[in-house]
Amino acid sequence: MIEIRNLVKDYGPIRALNGVSFTVEKGEVVGFLGPNGAGKTTCMKILTGFIAASSGTVTVAGMDVVTHGLEVRRRIGYLPENAPLYTDMTPREYLSFLGSIRGISHQELPDRIQRVALRVGIVPVMDQEIGTLSKGYRQRVGLAQAMIHDPDILVLDEPTSGLDPNQIVEIREVIRDLGQDRTVILSTHNLPEVTATCNRIVLIHKGQVRADGTPDAITARHGGGNTYRLEIQVPEGSPDPRLALGSHPEVAEVTPLEVPGATGRVFRVAAKGEEDLRPSLFRWSVEAGWTLLESRRERLDLEAIFQRLTLS
């Protein structure tokens, strides 16, 4: 549905995007993740045709966003960062203005407006000036605007920024609901949001894709998965288990951990390969005459992965 290839964007001397490539299939809800300034917004602006890339291509349903700009924009609903709106209009006026520009007929328009208003939950404020609405309602009006023409693709730049926790939950529900029958790309630096709404993550940092896949696949790939936490009870007089563990052919490094209140001694063991070492570590302990109290494969959660990939 969306194919982004080798996207580079320079703002003067600053390179905002440095060879970003990924594709989005029809019906996916993709969370575009990254710290502030990673290039998320730039990428979305290029996708929606607001700015042009310095090099690289973006195609939507096989059409290039530069040469077939109008057709592409017809298929996309876009909520820019901070949901800019005409504050002097009411949501009804605003949606009818955008609907008419989107080419929805005058007969169909009132019905269409009613439907999106219901879906995003702005029915009670339809005739109130947008300038007087709360941030949560404005964000919803922005969402309503993005879907007035029933687009195949929704591009949402930080749809929940600046909302209170209740509003965030509500907007997430709206997005999840929308994602059932269309392709959604949403950017955020908020991790719970991604796990709550997206079935795929593209993590970018310093203008490059650092990770791409389902949340589970990313955790498996970047979450370590090759370190183990062992708690061992060692009989009096036996040699230091560090040495014995270190001599295991698959073990790269052994670090003793100070754990207050632990029954045995606790070690972190880093493996050389990806395969699960727990069976072999168990046998190793038995042969050495230790009692293995706990053996756990450690994985970083998404938050830790995010930090690991973006703090370097």
Partner: protein, 245 residues
């Protein structure tokens, strides 16, 4: 085309849905009334000076042009600068609209304001006509010229509004440009005849006068249309240039 009309409609509604349009029109009509009925002579070139003392409509239209150099930039300043400031420009330009459609729609909206403002001045010349000199020629010519100059001012104002996100900057730049383009024919004779002639050819005021005299010369018409088209094209280009910044 429907897009352009939707845009123009939204602009007209925005003007008349807020006090801006009413204040601008009220100030305009008031000032025009004062200078007209108190017969404050306009700074006409020497050869027109005596004519101006007669019961003629000429000073009325001259004053209108002068007041428009201030009123119309105040109307056009928000057209694009405000969109830039609010961030709605991003929304507008990611709709299936071309830059040309955006610019033309906005311009037509502002033209709607000009139409209303000009129509509301009609009682003044009609009063004069009722009191004497019943020649409708200068009336038609005068309005035609005023509308053309006004359209040119709005196009220039739209252009300056495309350059900035500050409405006040757009406003002041437009006044400066409009005033310069209008009164460039009043350069001192010392600049020399060729320069003076060239200045006259570029002057809004010079072309306006020849239309207001009731002589419809296609050259004057072409001049104003070129200014409008040129300024709108530059404004569209300025919007488009965002892509490569």
């Amino acid at each position: 085309m429907r897009n352009v009309i939707s845009l123009a409609r939204r602009e007209i509604l925005a003007y008349f849905g807020s006090p801006v349009a009413y204040i601008a029109i009220a100030v305009f009509l008031l000032l025009l009334g004062v200078v007209f009925f108190f017969r404050i002579p306009f700074l006409l070139p020497k050869e027109d000076f005596f004519e101006a003392r007669e019961a003629t409509l000429r000073p009325l239209f001259e004053w209108m042009v002068f007041l428009f150099t201030i009123i119309l930039p105040a109307i056009s300043m928000r057209l694009l600068a405000e969109e830039r400031k609010l961030g709605t420009l991003e929304l507008l330009l990611t709709l299936p609209l071309t830059e040309t459609e955006v610019v033309v729609g906005k311009f037509l909206g502002a033209l709607g304001f000009l139409g209303v403002a000009a129509a509301l001045t009609l009682p003044y010349p009609l009063l004069v006509l009722a009191l004497g000199s019943p020649d409708p020629g200068p009336l038609v010519g005068g309005y035609f010229g005023v509308l053309l100059v006004g359209a040119a001012y709005l196009a220039v104002g739209l252009l300056t509004s495309a350059w900035t996100q500050s409405q006040i900057t757009a406003f002041l730049t437009a006044i400066a440009l409009c005033a310069a383009l209008t009164f460039v024919d009043r350069l001192p004779e010392a600049v020399g005849l060729p320069a003076l002639e060239a200045a006259r050819m570029m002057s809004f005021h010079h072309h306006f006068q020849s239309i207001a005299r009731g002589v419809l010369d296609t050259r004057d018409l072409v001049f104003f249309l070129s200014v409008v088209v040129g300024a709108l094209a530059l404004a569209g280009h300025s919007l488009e240039s965002r892509k490569w910044k």
